[in-house]
C-alpha cells in the first residue's frame, strides 16, 4: 500500500471516530457513562503512551509518571485559576502571590514544559542508573515532588495541601462558549437548537487533544530518534558501539515522556475540575504501568486500547461488583466496596503471569494487517504468509 492510501485510511479512521462520538452524543443522554469513559480513557491513553515511550521503547524502567503528572496538573491549575476566584481558592494564603491568568492553551503547554524541565534536572543524576535502581530513584523523585507541592510554606503558590479548584475544566470551557453576557449569542443559540452539541464538544475536546499528543509521540517513535531509542532498549552496549549517544537519547526520551505526562496531568485536572497533590501517589504510577502491561509493552495502540478497557472496566462495567449487583446476580455480601479492585488485580496478575505480551504485544494495530488476514483467509492456499 502506498503512502497516500495510508494517509487516506488514517483520515477515514479519524473521521469515523469523530462520527461515532457525534452519533453517541446525539442518541445517548449526556449523563451516560460512556462519555466519562471516552474522556478519561483518552487522558489515560496519553499518559500510558508517554510511559510506554520510556518503558517500552527506550527500555528505561521509570516509575516517576505520577510526579510528572502532578507537576503538569499543578502548573496548569495555578496559572489558570481566574483572578476573581483566587481569593476563594487560596483562602488560607490571602489569595496567593500569582496575580495573572494565562490562556488555557498556553497553560497546557507550560504544564508540559514544566514537567520536562523537572525531568531534565532529575534525569541528570538519575539516568546514569541501571534498571531497578532507576525505577526506585524515579519513584523516590515522584514522592519528593509530592512532598514539595504539599509543603505549606509554598502555599501562596501551590495552596499547600489544600485543593486547587475553579480553574477552567473541559465542561466549563465549552459551557463558557455560551455564557450569559450577550457576547456569546452565536453559541448560545447553537446549543439551544442542538442540545447534544455541548456534550459532543466536551467529549471530543480531550479526545482530540490527546490524539494530537499521541500522534506527535508516534512521529517521534517513527523518526531516527525512535529507532535509536529501540536500539538502546534492545542492547545498550551495541547501540553505543553503533554511535548512538546514550546519555542524549535517554534524556530526550525521558524529557519527552515527562512533557506528555505533564500535559496528561493537566488534562486530568481539566477532567476532574479539582486537584490535590495527595492523589498523585505511587499507586497512580502503578495503575498506569498496569495499563501499559495490559496493552502490551512497546505498542502505542496497545496502550490506547488498554487505557480505554481499563477505564471502561473500572468506571463502568465492573461498577456492579462494588454496588452489590453484577450480571444480574445480587449478592451484597460479596459484591461490596472494593471487590472491583480485587477482581482487577487478579486479572492483572493473570495477564502478567500467563499472557505476558498483553493485548498487542509489541505490534501495532494496523488496518493493512487485518485486511491482509481477511484476504489470506479468502484465498487460503494461494497466498501463504501474507503478514
Amino acid at each position: 500500500m502506498n503512502k497516500t492510501k495510508k494517509t487516506i485510511i488514517n483520515f477515514a479512521l479519524l473521521f469515523s471516530l469523530i462520527l461515532a462520538v457525534l452519533i453517541l452524543s446525539i442518541t445517548l443522554k449526556s449523563s451516560s457513562m460512556i462519555f466519562v469513559v471516552l474522556k478519561k480513557g483518552a487522558i489515560y491513553a496519553l499518559i500510558a503512551v508517554s510511559m510506554n515511550l520510556l518503558n517500552g521503547f527506550t527500555g528505561l524502567f521509570s516509575l516517576g509518571q505520577a510526579g510528572f503528572m502532578l507537576i503538569g496538573a499543578y502548573t496548569y491549575a495555578i496559572f489558570t485559576v481566574p483572578l476573581e476566584a483566587r481569593i476563594q481558592v487560596y483562602q488560607y494564603f490571602n489569595g496567593g502571590i500569582i496575580h495573572f491568568t494565562l490562556p488555557v492553551i498556553v497553560a497546557l503547554v507550560l504544564a508540559g514544559l514544566a514537567a520536562a524541565v523537572f525531568a531534565f534536572l532529575i534525569g541528570l543524576p538519575v539516568l546514569r542508573l541501571k534498571s531497578d535502581y532507576l525505577a526506585i530513584a524515579t519513584l523516590g523523585f515522584a514522592e519528593i515532588i509530592r512532598a514539595i507541592f504539599q509543603w505549606n510554606t509554598l502555599g501562596p503558590i501551590t495552596n499547600g495541601s489544600n485543593m486547587l479548584k475553579m480553574f477552567p475544566s473541559f465542561d466549563s470551557i465549552i459551557k463558557d462558549l455560551a455564557k450569559d453576557d450577550g457576547k456569546h449569542e452565536f453559541f448560545k443559540n447553537l446549543f439551544v437548537s442542538a442540545p447534544w452539541l455541548e456534550n459532543f464538544l466536551i467529549t471530543i475536546l480531550p479526545i482530540l487533544l490527546s490524539g494530537v499528543c499521541i500522534a506527535i509521540i508516534v512521529m517521534l517513535i517513527k523518526s531516527s530518534y525512535g529507532r535509536a531509542f529501540k536500539a538502546i532498549r534492545d542492547d545498550e552496549v551495541a547501540a553505543e558501539a553503533m554511535g548512538i549517544n546514550l546519555a542524549r537519547h535517554k534524556m530526550m526520551s525521558f524529557c519527552t515522556s515527562a512533557f506528555f505526562a505533564g500535559i496528561g496531568g493537566a488534562m486530568l485536572a481539566m477532567f476532574q475540575a479539582t486537584i490535590q497533590a495527595s492523589a498523585f501517589k505511587s499507586a497512580m504510577t502503578y495503575e498506569i504501568l498496569l495499563i501499559v502491561v495490559l496493552g502490551g509493552i512497546g505498542s502505542v495502540t496497545g496502550s490506547c486500547i488498554g487505557a480505554f478497557l481499563y477505564i471502561a472496566a473500572s468506571e463502568w462495567w465492573l461498577r456492579g461488583l462494588d454496588a452489590g449487583k453484577f450480571l444480574g446476580i445480587s449478592a451484597p455480601g460479596i459484591f461490596r466496596n472494593g471487590f472491583r479492585l480485587v477482581v482487577f488485580s487478579v486479572v492483572i496478575m493473570c495477564v502478567v503471569l500467563f499472557w505476558r505480551k498483553g493485548i498487542m504485544g509489541d505490534k501495532e494495530f494496523d488496518i493493512e494487517r487485518i485486511a491482509g488476514r481477511f484476504k489470506s483467509k479468502k484465498s487460503k492456499g494461494e497466498v501463504s504468509g501474507n503478514e
Binding site: A137, S345, L353
Partner: protein, 308 residues
C-alpha cells in the same frame, strides 16, 4: 546535655523505627541479593501481617495469635514466591518487577476489600506496649525492645548465613545463579528459604511497628516498605549488616526531621515553624538519590563489574 535531653524523644523513636525498618530491609536485601528483584510486595506482606494480627487477636489469646501470625506470614511469603516469581524466572527482569508490583497491588486491594478501607485498631500487646520513662522522654517499652531484638535476630541470621549449609547455599546462589545450579544446589528451595526468612522478620517487624501506631490501613505497608528498601540500598544491597545500619540511620534522620521545626524554633535559628515535617518521607528518597550517585554500591556493598 540540655540539647540532648530536649531531643531525646526524637532520637529514641528514631532508633525504634530504625530497628523496625531494619527487620523489613533484611527481607529486601536478601531477595535482591539472590534474585536481583526489588520485591515491591514485601512492604505489603508486612502490612498483611499487621492485619492478620488484628483479626486473629479478636478470637484467640495472644500466645496463640503471635506464633500463628508469624507462621501465616511465612506461608504468604512462600506462596507469593512460588505463584508470582517462580514462573517468571527466565523472563526479563522487567517482567518480574511488574509481577512484584502486581502482587503488591493485589495484596493492597484484597486488604481494602476485607477491611472496607477502615482503620483497624492494632491490639496492644501487654508488657511491650507499657509506658516507661527514660530521662525526660516518655515512651513505650517497645522502643527499647526493638533495637535489642533487631540486633539479636541479625546476629542469629548472620550466624545462619556464615555457618550453616543453607547459608552457604544462599551465598553461592547470590554470587552466581547458574553456576550454583550446576553445582547441585537446589536453587528453588534456597530462594524459598530466603522468602521464608524475609517474611518471618517482616512479621516480627510488623508487631513492633504497629504497636507504636494507632492502627493498620491497607496502604500502611507501602511507605515503610519503600523506606526499608532505601535502607537496604543505602547500606549496600545484598549486605545484611549494611541494611541494618542503613535502616537505623534512616529511622533516626526521619524522626529528627519530623521534630526539626520544634528543634530549630527552640534553639532560636528560625522564628516560625516551616512545616519541614512534610519532608520526612521525601528525605529518605533524597538520601537514596545521593547515595546512588556518590557510591552506587552503598556503604558495605561489593563492587560489581558489568559484563557484556
Amino acid at each position: 546535655m540540655d540539647f540532648f535531653s530536649a531531643n531525646l524523644p526524637y532520637i529514641l523513636s528514631g532508633i525504634s523505627v530504625g530497628g523496625q525498618y531494619a527487620l523489613i530491609a533484611i527481607g529486601y536485601t536478601m531477595v535482591y541479593g539472590i534474585l536481583r528483584l526489588i520485591n515491591f510486595a514485601h512492604g505489603d506482606v508486612f502490612m498483611v501481617a499487621g492485619l492478620m494480627m488484628v483479626f486473629l487477636s479478636s478470637w484467640a489469646p495472644l500466645y496463640v495469635t503471635i506464633p500463628l501470625v508469624i507462621v501465616a506470614t511465612i506461608v504468604l511469603g512462600f506462596i507469593i514466591e512460588r505463584a508470582a516469581y517462580k514462573p517468571l524466572r527466565s523472563a526479563p527482569r522487567m517482567s518480574i518487577m511488574i509481577s512484584a508490583i502486581g502482587v503488591s497491588y493485589l495484596l493492597q486491594n484484597v486488604s481494602l476489600y476485607i477491611t472496607g478501607g477502615l482503620n483497624k485498631n492494632y491490639p496492644s500487646i501487654p508488657w511491650i506496649s507499657d509506658t516507661i520513662t527514660i530521662g525526660t522522654a516518655v515512651t513505650k517499652r517497645v522502643t527499647l525492645i526493638t533495637p535489642v531484638l533487631t540486633i539479636v535476630l541479625v546476629i542469629a541470621l548472620v550466624i545462619l548465613i556464615k555457618h550453616t549449609k543453607i547459608g552457604m547455599a544462599m551465598r553461592a546462589v547470590s554470587r552466581d545463579f547458574e553456576t550454583s545450579q550446576l553445582m547441585g544446589i537446589k536453587v528453588d528451595s534456597v530462594i524459598s528459604s530466603t522468602f521464608i526468612i524475609g517474611s518471618f522478620l517482616a512479621a516480627v517487624g510488623s508487631m513492633l511497628y504497629f504497636t507504636n501506631y494507632p492502627g493498620v490501613v491497607p496502604n500502611s505497608g507501602a511507605m515503610p516498605g519503600l523506606k526499608a528498601f532505601v535502607a537496604a540500598v543505602f547500606g549496600g544491597i545484598g549486605s545484611i549488616p549494611g541494611a541494618v545500619v542503613g535502616a537505623f540511620i534512616i529511622g533516626i534522620c526521619e524522626n529528627i526531621i519530623k521534630g526539626l521545626d520544634t528543634i530549630l524554633v527552640n534553639s532560636g535559628v528560625i522564628k516560625n515553624p516551616l512545616g519541614l515535617a512534610t519532608f520526612s518521607d521525601a528525605f529518605t528518597f533524597a538520601l537514596l538519590i545521593v547515595i546512588l550517585i556518590v557510591k552506587p554500591t552503598g556503604l558495605f556493598g561489593e563492587k560489581k563489574t558489568d559484563k557484556v
